[in-house]
Subunit: 190 residues, 2 copies
DNA sequence: TAGAATAGTAAACATATGTTCACCTGTCAA
DNA sequence: TTGACAGGTGAACATATGTTTACTATTCTA
């Protein structure tokens, strides 16, 4: 049983069960009759940097078991698609969300931020409680209506500016309640 | 020890160690002297739908232990941010990537797709080997140069159309090698 | 105030787990 | 041909795990 095939199988198991298999289960996965075969094979995976162990011997997933693998090819220009699997691998969850406990999703309706590259149907990730900087995109309730706009300061006055020429900027008269700051945008094509 | 606090602690443990804690560890986490206290408490979490068990008694994470929690508030319009933690919870990895083994990331440079809401600095997720439909965004090597464009068919002829009025559409003369189809776009603000 | 539910302790047990040791191939290079 | 070696089997062992049962203290409720 070669290493790459084993990694593929263990990775599939990890995706499906959301935990790494035991040695017994690795043996089953690879068709071994003995746990020890799995044990030795696993040692190689550790040496190769795919896995690690905690102090009690339990396996912990490393780079190749991040939720999204094969994402190595990231270049400034464009890829040479021949080269597969460079080393940088990451999870989109970890990449896009710094404070998961304070972040929620929102599906965008309306085109008020279209010139900022946020289209209707996109999903924005909003971090609650974050203090907006000038130029951030925020979701705010101004005069009891929710909108997503640029957050700007003009002479100390908060101004909410849309990224769409057909809309007017908003200067909150009475109240301004901030739902949070947009920290990332994701869009899925189907 | 109330349920929400326990969930928070177990969730934190899960994030950090990439596996669920054992009953002993849950007891430690909550300051219990007995595993059984953790056992009973866990039973409540299962009843409440936070967790589940496999056939051998091992805990398996459910909705609230998805990589990105608190993402319930998804509405067509805008949120009532008072309500926290609705039930729909999901992982961005699972949401954005259908075939992780065939998907890789690419950081976008250039503004040829800006009118499609894809900006320089955005990251696109590309699925290799996927057959493009008319109107899909593809990454292709045409006449030995890599570009990202709309994929269109005009009278059976493949045409690559940019989403930027300042660029011309491309009709591949000699070769057209497809790196893959853009299945999603993510953007992170910092 | 009495009684029941709640929340935690303590001990016990069968089983599964990580790990080690001894052994058995077949392959490949010297 | 020989010897090292990779790759696998099988058994053994200490420990950790999930689970059950019995018991205690506290809180809530009728």
């Amino acid at each position: 049983m070669n290493i790459e095939k084993t990694v593929t199988k263990i990775r599939a198991y990890f995706r499906q069960n959301k935990r790494l298999p035991t040695y017994q289960e690795i043996a089953d996965l690879c068709g071994f009759a003995s746990k020890n075969a799995a044990f030795k094979l696993t040692q190689k995976l550790i040496d190769a940097g795919y896995l690690s162990k905690d102090e009690k011997g339990r396996l912990i997933p490393l780079r190749l078991f991040a939720p999204l693998p094969n994402m190595g090819i990231v270049k400034a220009g464009f890829p040479t698609p021949a080269e597969e699997e460079l080393d940088s691998v990451m999870s989109l969850d970890e990449y896009l969300v710094d404070h998961p406990e304070a972040t929620f999703m929102l599906k965008v309706s309306g085109d008020s931020m279209i010139e900022a590259g946020i289209q209707p149907g996109d999903t924005v990730l909003i971090e609650k409680g974050k203090k907006p900087k000038d130029g951030d995109i925020v979701v705010a309730c101004v005069d009891s209506e929710w909108t997503m706009k640029y957050y700007h300061l003009e002479q100390g006055q908060i101004v909410l500016v849309p990224a769409n020429g057909r809309y007017e900027k908003i200067v909150p008269k009475e109240s301004l309640e901030l739902a949070g700051v947009v920290v990332s945008v994701v869009r899925k094509y189907n």
